[in-house]
């Protein structure tokens, strides 16, 4: 129904504006309906302006900036409509150290509200884990999974990039 859509849209829009300012430590972003008269038919557009920069097309943003905008929107949707679990596969790959820290803060902020399954090569993200599983591929082309400690990870699996 139109009212429910507008209620959801306005709420997510607000959460997104707040989360964006949080993860970018400034700047501003907003969601907008392409066709305000017809919300149920209208596409949803995203505008994002990192601190100190001018509002321009999203595609001009850098790889890391786009990832952070996408995470802000994803978590904004979650804030309005929580999901029982959230799977993130290597979302920290394009991020620099400062943004990995902000991503980790987001995880800590939301961790009571959902079950996170995060795949990562990054040591800082690993440090947050309640449980850490190591996956390895045996010589027979078969995967197996073991519970590991952070120290073991760096030693034996040859991973833990930061």
């Amino acid at each position: 129904t139109r009212d429910r859509f507008m209620e959801a849209f306005e709420a997510v829009k607000e959460h997104f504006a707040v989360l964006f300012r949080e993860v970018f430590e400034g700047g501003e972003a907003r969601l907008s309906l392409l066709d305000e008269q017809n919300p149920l038919e209208s596409g949803v557009e995203i505008f994002a302006q990192p601190p100190g920069k001018k509002l321009q097309s999203l595609q001009l943003l850098s790889g890391g900036e786009k990832a952070m905008v996408a995470l802000a929107l994803l978590f904004a949707l979650f804030r309005y409509r929580p999901q029982p679990f959230f799977i993130l596969d290597e979302v920290d790959a394009p991020l620099d150290e400062a943004n990995i820290n902000r991503f980790n803060r987001l995880l800590l902020q939301f961790r009571g509200q959902t079950q996170f399954l995060v795949v990562s090569h990054n040591k800082r993200t690993m440090e947050l884990a309640e449980v850490l599983y190591g996956v390895s591929m045996g010589e027979g082309g078969v995967s197996r999974l073991v519970s590991v400690r952070l120290a073991e990870v760096e030693a034996s699996l040859g991973i833990g990039r930061a």
Partner: protein
């Protein structure tokens, strides 16, 4: 709703039956390139009824069945079981199987059900059928590169 455990058997590189108990908050999965981490996330997606082989990085759905290696013959079947527990302590296990022949089944607590029943379960517990609970490897920008219309579908589901 809590996802207590994921179990894989014959699914992609998990030829051996593998049980993965999930903690309450934050599980981090680590390992070298090609070890099978994304295969675990594929398994959850598949068990929840993913219909597109391409989304699972295959050409046809049978590509999710362990295809063998130089030391190990191919499996005849792939199976993934998701063990849930709701707020009141009621346990529900959602499962999916696929045989090489193409014969497939959805399971709820071990008995055969239709895909529709699995989807109803998802809707009842707020698991997005649009897949917004999952950010696939290399796809974090998906929400941004999606068309304005595709984004609206996500908002419709959330509303």
């Amino acid at each position: 709703l809590r996802l207590r455990e994921v179990e894989l058997f014959g699914f992609k590189s998990f030829a051996d039956r593998t049980r993965i108990p999930l903690p309450d908050d934050l599980l981090v999965v680590v390992g070298p390139n090609g070890s099978g981490k994304s295969n675990v996330t594929d398994a959850v997606l598949w068990a929840l009824g993913e219909q597109s082989a391409k989304t699972l990085r295959g050409h046809k759905m049978q590509d999710v069945i362990f295809s063998g290696s130089h030391r190990r013959p191919a499996s005849g079947m792939a199976e993934v079981l998701l063990s849930f527990e709701d707020g009141e302590g009621t346990k529900v296990q959602l499962g999916r199987r696929l045989l090489r022949s193409g014969e497939s089944a959805y399971l709820m607590d071990g008995r055969g059900v239709r895909l529709k029943d699995a989807q109803e379960f998802m809707m009842r517990y707020g698991i997005s059928t649009q897949g917004t609970f999952l950010v696939e490897q290399g796809r974090v920008e998906a929400l941004l590169t999606a068309s304005a219309e595709e984004r609206r579908l996500i908002f419709e589901e959330v509303a």
